[in-house]
């Protein structure tokens, strides 16, 4: 790769000299056409019959680092972290990355040598034997108790009652008759005192009956305040009371 000669607008010479000038800051990465470097390298590869993977890998690392340097310089305000990366720092970064890669390459070489040195070590490989499963131990059982349990299960279950699902509405007429009878004996009464002890449904039907009587003009309804007792009076009495109050 060192032999790669470049003929660029800003530089003419070997690739490693270009790198050195960049590291010395004697050449601006912005002025370098990196695509032209890649083209030159690809042309050199095409000329050779064999591909040198080592050289290709090193070239890729260097060119990508150069590309990153150039991108950082071209877009200095793109990210805050780039502000601190001066050309010298960028060169340091390039050297650091190369150093890191070199160490890993050396480590790979060490591993390869180690592997070669261990070729006469043979050992058994395979799945580990299964660990024993914990044994399930049942407490002593009584067969009669089992029979009782089975017998209990054999009994058909009781029929499920659905009675609670049906709402029973007593007829409104029942309460109409009841209230009319009551009004024939008494001139007025409280609704609450008459429906106390009845279910919520029965109380609702009783109230409907009350509305029916009011609609037909048979009764007058009064309530002093919300939630106060509802008072029911015969209409005749109510008219008399009203008339008396007005005449007074």
């Amino acid at each position: 790769m060192r032999e790669l000669d470049l003929d660029l607008d800003a530089f003419e010479g070997p690739f490693d000299l270009l790198l050195t000038l960049l590291l010395r800051e004697e050449l601006e990465p912005i002025e370098i056409d990196i695509a032209a470097i890649v083209l030159a390298f690809v042309e050199r590869l095409a000329e050779r019959e064999e591909i040198d993977l080592e050289a290709c890998g090193e070239f890729l690392v260097l060119v990508s680092a150069l590309l990153e340097l150039k991108a950082r310089l071209l877009f200095p305000d793109e990210a805050a972290e780039l502000d601190a990366l001066e050309p010298e720092a960028a060169a340091e970064e390039l050297a650091r990355r190369l150093g890191e890669y070199r160490r890993m390459k050396e480590a790979a070489v060490w591993l390869a040598e180690r592997l070669a040195g261990e070729r006469d070590r043979w050992f058994r490989l395979g799945p580990a034997p299964l660990a024993p499963q914990p044994e399930r131990r049942l407490a002593p059982q009584d067969s009669n108790a089992l029979a009782v349990a089975l017998r209990a299960l054999a009994v058909p279950p009781p029929a499920v009652s659905l009675s609670h699902m049906a709402l029973r509405f007593p007829p409104v007429s029942q309460f109409l008759d009841r209230f009319r009878t009551l009004l024939s004996r008494r001139r007025r009464f409280d609704f609450e005192s008459e429906v106390i002890g009845l279910s919520r449904v029965e109380q609702a039907v009783a109230f409907l009956a009350l509305l029916e009587l009011r609609k037909s003009g048979e009764i007058a309804l009064s309530q002093a305040a919300p939630f106060a007792p509802i008072r029911i009076a015969r209409v005749d009495d109510e008219r008399i009371t009203t008339w008396t109050a007005r005449s007074a």
Binding site: L19, L53, Y101, E118, R119
Partner: protein, 200 residues
């Protein structure tokens, strides 16, 4: 007191050594002292003493099988004298065809792991997908969680099999990274030297 006396009488050190020997024969991976002590229902210190006995008994040129301390535990292997015979009968599928790229990736994971494929690619300068897949398939590295944050990349670390294949007692047996390769300053100096030589 009775039970202690009975233990000494029925389980002397030699018998413990024989039990450990049996456990290591059955095991297909190195067993730690703690694992051996638990299986043998004995004291870890006595297990280590018994392992010392076994190491004398199963040493190179003394026996066809050799006791070695590897991958954080103890395991038997064939003696080196028998390696040629072993090679005629058995294969080494794990290290067969291990490429240079795979070895570089393995080095990155061994030294910097747990680390992700993008980290490996950043250091090596090329995509590491194929090398990582090959190493996972061989059982030399395995997944070790993900990087933090949503969609974090899978991280990898070396397995005990890696240590065993490479004959390492643990990852601490790897050479120090600082002792390997040139540092950044050396690389920079080398580049400058090359430039000076060309300029002159």
């Amino acid at each position: 007191m009775d039970s202690t006396l009975r233990l000494i009488a029925t389980n002397p050190l030699d018998q413990l050594a024989r039990t450990i020997e049996a456990l290591l024969i059955v095991a297909s991976a190195p067993l730690s002292v703690a694992e051996l002590a638990e299986a043998a229902e004995d004291d870890p210190e006595r297990v280590e003493t018994a392992l010392g006995l076994l190491r004398e008994r199963f040493g190179e040129r003394r026996s066809g099988i050799v006791l070695e301390q590897v991958a954080g535990g103890y395991a038997f292997r064939a003696s080196r004298e028998a390696s040629e015979a072993c090679a005629r009968l058995f294969e080494r599928p794990i290290e067969r065809g291990l490429s240079h790229a795979a070895l570089e990736t393995l080095a990155v994971v061994a030294y910097l792991g747990p680390c992700s494929r993008p980290e490996v690619a950043r250091i090596r300068g090329v995509a590491a997908d194929s090398a990582v897949a090959s190493l996972v398939e061989r059982g030399l590295i395995s997944e070790a969680g993900r990087e933090s944050g949503p969609g974090g990349a899978v991280r990898y670390r070396t397995t005990p099999l890696f240590e065993r294949v490479f004959g390492l007692e643990s990852l601490a047996a790897l050479p120090r990274l600082d002792d390997l390769g040139a540092d950044g300053e050396q690389i920079r100096e080398r580049l400058l030297e090359v430039a000076s030589a060309r300029a002159s």
